[in-house]
Amino acid sequence: MHIFGYRLKCLARDREMVFWTLIFPLILATMFHFAFDQLMGRQETFRPIRAAVVGSDAYRQNVAFRQALDALSGPGEGQLIELTVTDDREARRLLEEGAISGVITVDDPIGLTVSQSGIEQSILKSILDEYAHTYATITGILEEHPTDPAGLLREIGQVRTYTQQISFSSAEPNTTLNFFYALIAMTCLYGGFWGLRNTTDMQADLSPQGARRSVAPTHKFGVVLYDSAAALTINLAEVTVLLAYLMLVLRVKFGNQVWYVLLTCLAGCIAGVSFGAFIGTFARKSEGVKTAILSASSMTMSFLAGMMMVNMKDIIARKAPILSYINPAALITDAFYSLYIFEGHRRFFLNIALLLLISLAICILSFLRLRRDRYASL
């Protein structure tokens, strides 16, 4: 037990490591929060499109079109466009400066001038198309069956919608959550730095501490176990701090199943620490190289789990499904995701089970490697 205690102290005093495994994720979380806070709100939410219409004689005379535009630009819930009536040159200037998305010119047919392609321009075109289409429908019907023109016009005036919002899950599909989930995964994997440090301090050829501990009369399995437990405790504490920060300060949503979330963290930390130990025992290189391998690989895994690009995780899941089953970061992220979005726990437990399986496998490998260590001279 005292091995555990001293190991804990020893690790926690490594300031630089605490910075990278705790402070750095906290800072990143804050950055993510500021950056993505309104990502959903701003980027995707519909805002009325700014457009100009050239106030020519043709425009003034086309009462039906003017009414249609007025209806679309009236303030309120259904407002689609924000309209400026102006002359040709001014409209052109506004367009060139990027102040408006398009210029509508009433001619035969009604035309649109834009400076680039994009969704706003497409919606403008779609609005004009709709006018033309309705016009085509009315003239078509009146030509073929001019029985009830008044009723037809009344029907056109009625705006009906034929879509109904439903949802597969009670959770809002907020893509930005994945960034935070992947960040926790990264922090779990950064636990590997502690695991790596453990193996360095245990192997006699790597550090003086290792030499000293090798001649100590404690069973090696016990030492490994206590060391790993200490690393795990620290890592788990760090992840919990991060989690608390995300949940309580930044109000990131994890669903309502706190115990399952903590279970994910624990499994993630186990994977992280054992991964570090694995690199520590198998990569027989200098400390710097090992650290580089560890940080590069945990970054790559977090990248593949979607920490930098949100749809990365999904791309991998569809294009190379094997990768998403063996990448601990993807498993952790997916566990959080499935807790948040799905009612059932099938997918969640699949993730956790795979995660523990991978950890177990690399732990056994590392220990097998460690226990064969015999030194000719110390």
Binding site: E16, F19, W20, I27, L28, M31, F34, A35, F36, D37, R42, Q43, E44, T45, F46, L80, L95, E96, E97, G98, G111, L112, T113, Q116, S117, G118, I119, Q121, S122, I123, K125, D129, A132, H133, A136, T137, I141, H145, D148, G151, L152, E155, I156, R160, T161, Y162, T163, Q164, Q165, I166, S167, F168, E172, P173, T175, D314, Y337, I341, F342, R347
Partner: protein, 388 residues
Amino acid sequence: MQVFRAYFKVMRASAGAIAIYVAIFLGLSVAFSFAEGPQETGDFAQTRTPIAVICRDGDAPLAQGLTDYLADTSRIVPYPDNPEKLQDALFFRNVEYIAIIPAGFSADFLSGLDCAVQKVTVPGSISSRYVDMRIDKYLRTARLRHQYGGDQSQEELAVAVRADLAQETPVTVLPSSTANGSERGFVFYYRYFAYAVLATIMMGVSSIMMAFNKPDLARRNLCAPIPARSRSMQLAAGHTIFALGCWSVLVLFSFVLYGRSLLSSGLVWLYCLNTLAFTIVSASIGFLVGSSVKSVGAQAGAVNVIANAMSFIGGVFVPQSILSKQVLDVGRFLPAYWYVKANDAISRLSRPTTSALRPIYGDVLIQLAFAAAIFATTLLLTKERQAE
């Protein structure tokens, strides 16, 4: 000249750490530029929202007609009728709209019952409005044709509706601009430029400063027969050449990647001006970091935190248009904010006019003012420390 020569010897020693940022940035840029696909110029390209259509109404002509119409106007991504898969698709925005035509929809619709296409979307999003418009348009037209167009079979109705919806509004694209405007690759390149140049120069300049500020080394240099002014000037010359070198590598690479479209946009000199201003800012920050930190670990921490924080809050990683007002208010105190602001303004220009250029010059001047302020602060700090 000794100092100047020593400068580049030290630089060579830390070249690896410096090159890493440039290499990552360039690698990602290449990947992005390939992912971008062929450039369409001159013609208007209607946005096609990726959607999934699940038709549970068998092969009823009206439902089929709606599906065909959506296929023509959106990009249909084939998905099976499986809620878990569809949920994943929407969460990761492989599709932005899932339309489900319920069983018996066509029959209900034609007999005048209340019925609707079910949709799963990101509530209130711009793309959901866009697809809503399409579905409503199709069904409204169908309703009109059905009620007032006389007797006709479902097939005839579907054909008539499609004929009504065939007309297209003519769209003119301003001749002076390329069709994909702010989505052009080099716009992204020059936005991320800020991160690359900041991280690289900060790393390089601070490494040198740390080397020359090592107490023993600094003391030895102090009693060397070389005037302090000359030493500082040589260091400054070294910083300038290093910073300009980084800048020109990154600018040249943008020519390699985006050559023709960049040159034909007529905005190259503006981008150069803006990036140059930010390069100077980066050098000043590197100068500050180099004279404040002592260990390599602290340096790596400082470089990472400053570069990331500045890029996130200033709007490099996430466009300023979608940052919240509070963040932007904080961002105003960071030079990266003004860099991105100018960069965005440049990208929106289709033709540089005097009135449009004035705010851009303003942003560039603000960046230079930041650089001057940071340099002055650093000099003051070092002076004080020497006095101790």
